[in-house]
């Protein structure tokens, strides 16, 4: 059937600069560029271009430019180009539109409507280059009361403490499974996490056996509805276990890794036969209530000898704060909440773009709810979904989070340009693919260095912002909404976040 969809990108090749090296042809897994030996020139097919900019960056002569095409349709506020073309694709195939990355729709980004405080005159700001800044954070349950015994200046903690994760900076790598991302990308995250004193999350695709000894200590392993790759060894090699209930990019639905992506290595890590679909059902079939969730939390605590904190990850949706309270009461040590703009390797676009609530609103409601119920100390909150810079992190913590997960930001650090073709498995940057030729393009040393650099840069910036506010420990910033003011927000939005308007 002839497709009526127009190309999204236009490729402009400067023929005077092009040396016919065919590098672009090799770089593009979508088959955009082909060499025509008769004319001795390269031909580019706009229809195949994903807009990932790989050929542009790697053209030795800088001869290629890839530009988004303007809409070919008559302007129509209701029928945008995207709406028309998605509809056409569905008319041509009868299928669900799949996409990758996070929600790209213009929902209000609250980070950009919140400003931070700074010290002036009455309390001095702190220079982080001169003074110690405490970014170290402990994730897990804290006791209701701490009983201590002092003896000649020695302090002994009498209360039995729950296991906690220690992070040197309040940033963890979000769950991205081996299978969704390449081995090299997965290993880069693990390497950077270990080096930078934080944790990576394995997602639900298991943790390759050869990585366990070296990287288990900085791994949070996930238990999702598909229960792939899970045995006692997997659970015990890690520092924490996370039950994945939901994901911001696709709340309420499961996932499936198509058989094409289940290579021999992915299969052995997930412990399923190669080439079969790995289906993660929408719900955990043993969790239909808070009591059931509690049963799984304690099953995992039992399986790990009560030595590791158990996290529960949910998508931020309506009424989730009440569910969060239930999760704490069910025995979770950490709640991870994933907002509307959380990323994914593949999700139906209808779900990605329409389900869930912004993380900024979610953090504040959950934190307030748990405080009001007097159970905030029993768990830590990790916020995820739409963290783009260090200022977002400072705001997230001031709204009540203990730390943040970054997924998309980490991918961009490794080279991702958000072309949203993750679901095709043809990632030219070697990140979201299982094709050995493509995956080999991502160098673990370089990618992990880029990730560590990002963490270092953001940690410095967080210290600077805290210092400016006269705060020298993250502890004092947590839930400290006095340091935030809203600009251009409605009353209800200020109320939900518990912050004042600027000038107040």
């Amino acid at each position: 059937m002839k497709s009526f969809v127009f190309p999204e990108f236009h490729i402009i090749r400067d023929e005077a600069k092009c040396g016919q090296c065919r590098g672009c042809e090799r770089q593009c897994a979508f088959g955009t560029h082909t060499y025509d030996p008769v004319q001795d020139r390269l031909i580019s097919d706009d229809y195949k271009c994903a807009g990932c900019q790989r050929c542009v960056v790697f053209c030795p002569k800088n001869a290629i430019e890839v530009r988004p095409t303007p809409s070919p349709y008559r302007a129509n506020a209701s029928w945008s180009r995207e709406k028309m073309e998605d509809l056409k694709k569905q008319a041509e195939t009868g299928g669900v539109i799949l996409t990758g990355c996070g929600n790209d729709k213009p929902f209000r980004i609250y980070w950009d409507h919140i400003v931070l405080n700074a010290s002036q005159v009455t309390n001095p700001s702190i220079d982080p280059l001169r003074e110690p800044m405490e970014l170290r954070t402990f994730l897990g349950a804290k006791p209701d009361i701490m009983e201590v015994k002092t003896d000649n200046g020695d302090v002994e903690i009498r209360t039995k403490l729950s296991p906690n994760l220690v992070i040197e900076t309040p940033i963890l790598f979000s769950a991205m499974s081996y299978g969704a991302i390449s081995y090299n990308a997965f290993r880069s995250l693990a390497t950077a996490a270990c080096r930078s004193g934080t944790y990576f999350n394995t997602g639900e695709g298991g943790l390759p056996k050869e990585m366990r000894e070296k990287f288990g200590k900085c791994a949070i392993v996930q238990v999702a509805s598909g229960r792939f790759g899970i045995d006692a060894e997997y659970l015990n090699c890690a520092s924490a276990v996370e039950i994945k209930v939901g994901q911001g990019a696709k709340p309420g639905i499961g996932g499936h890794l198509p058989g094409e992506k289940v290579s021999a290595e992915v299969a052995s890590t997930r412990m399923i036969p190669a080439g079969t679909d790995a289906i993660s059902p929408a719900p955990h079939h043993d969790i239909y209530s808070i009591e059931d969730l509690s049963m799984l939390i304690y099953a995992l605590k039992e399986a790990t000898n009560y030595e590791k904190p158990i996290s529960v990850k949910i998508a931020a949706v309506h009424n989730f704060a009440a569910i969060g309270s239930g999760i704490v009461r069910a025995g979770a040590d950490i709640i991870a909440i994933d907002g509307l703009r959380g990323g994914t390797g593949a999700a139906p676009k209808a779900i990605r773009d329409n389900v869930g609530i912004p993380i900024e609103l979610a953090i504040s409601s959950l934190d307030r709810r748990l405080r009001n119920e007097g159970i905030r100390n029993r768990c830590s909150i990790i916020a995820a979904g739409g963290i783009r810079c260090s200022a977002d992190i400072v705001k997230a913590i001031a709204l009540g989070a203990d730390a943040v997960y970054i997924g998309t930001s980490a991918l961009i650090a490794m080279g991702c340009n958000l072309c949203q073709k993750c679901n095709t498995g043809k990632c030219n940057w070697g990140i979201c693919t299982q094709d050995p030729r493509l995956a080999g393009r991502l160098n673990v040393d370089i990618a992990s260095q880029r990730l560590s650099n990002l963490l270092q840069a953001w940690s410095h910036e967080i210290s600077e912002m805290m210092g400016g506010m006269g705060i020298n420990a993250l502890e004092s910033l947590r839930g400290n909404r006095d340091h935030l003011r809203g600009v251009g927000l409605y009353e209800w939005e200020l109320e939900v976040m518990g912050i004042k308007g600027a000038g107040e």
Partner: protein, 250 residues
């Protein structure tokens, strides 16, 4: 070595499992638990990097998630079991001299479970297999609805002993791997739309033959011979497609 006896009276779940773990770490290989009453996760906390193994006999009724994540131990229950037996079990064996509750063998990837009587809903839900790991569940009685739902691997055998018909509905809903053998017949309306019902071939018969022998070996009190059980016909339920979602996307 003689079996060590533990009286579970008034022990909380965690205390009982502490006791079991301590015994295993001290080198005990056989434990008899008396007066068990609803304690959960028995067998779950017995993973060690050196893969120690233990035989556990249970008198009384163990609670939910018996043998969850079980890593190679043998458990025999001289009574009924509750929900979640063998949840995400890896290897080992569980024998229940009675009936078991719902979601038995959920996401189980290896090992064997033998239940003398019937089982509840959603048995062998999303059961898997991988290389040499092929979980097996043999049920003496019958199952309730959603047997083998989302099943991705492994073998389930339902013997329907005692002359009761298979009343469960939605058998094999969403099934995309593995195989279920039922002794007797079911109506087409009882079976999920993804499932094909067929007679057994020789390879199937060899499998059923083998596990029926194992079953009667574990429950001599039934006084049955292999021939008694095998003289009735079995049917085979298997997935029509291993890729049920292949045509879903644009």
């Amino acid at each position: 070595m003689d079996a060590v006896e533990v009286d579970a009276t008034n022990l909380a779940t965690r205390e009982l499992n502490d006791r079991l773990r301590d015994l295993m770490l001290s080198g005990v290989e056989k434990v008899v638990l008396r007066n068990v009453c609803g304690q959960r996760y028995i067998g779950t906390r017995l993973y060690t990097p050196e893969h120690r193994r233990m035989d556990i006999e249970i008198y009384g009724t163990p609670g939910n998630d018996l043998a969850a994540f079980l890593f190679g131990h043998n458990i025999r229950v001289h009574a009924n079991a509750q929900d979640g037996v063998g949840n995400t079990m890896d290897h080992g064996e569980v024998v229940v001299e009675g009936r078991a509750g719902d979601v038995l063998g959920f996401s189980m990837r290896g090992g064997q479970i033998y239940v003398r009587d019937g089982v509840g809903y959603r048995t062998a839900l999303h059961m898997k297999e991988y290389e040499d790991k092929k979980p097996v569940v043999v049920i003496g009685g019958t199952s309730q609805d959603f047997l083998g739902e989302y099943m991705a691997g492994g073998i389930v055998i339902v013997l329907g002993l005692g002359g009761k018909p298979h009343k469960g509905n939605f058998l094999g809903t969403g099934m995309h791997g593995g195989v279920i053998y039922l002794r007797g017949t079911v109506d087409k309306t009882q079976v999920g739309s993804q499932v094909e019902v067929s007679p057994l071939n020789d390879a199937d018969r060899a499998i059923v033959d083998h596990y029926v022998s194992e079953f009667i070996l574990r429950f001599p009190e039934l006084g049955l011979t292999k021939e008694d059980i095998l003289k009735e016909e079995f049917i085979r339920l298997s997935p029509k497609s291993k890729r049920p979602y292949v045509k879903l996307y644009a």
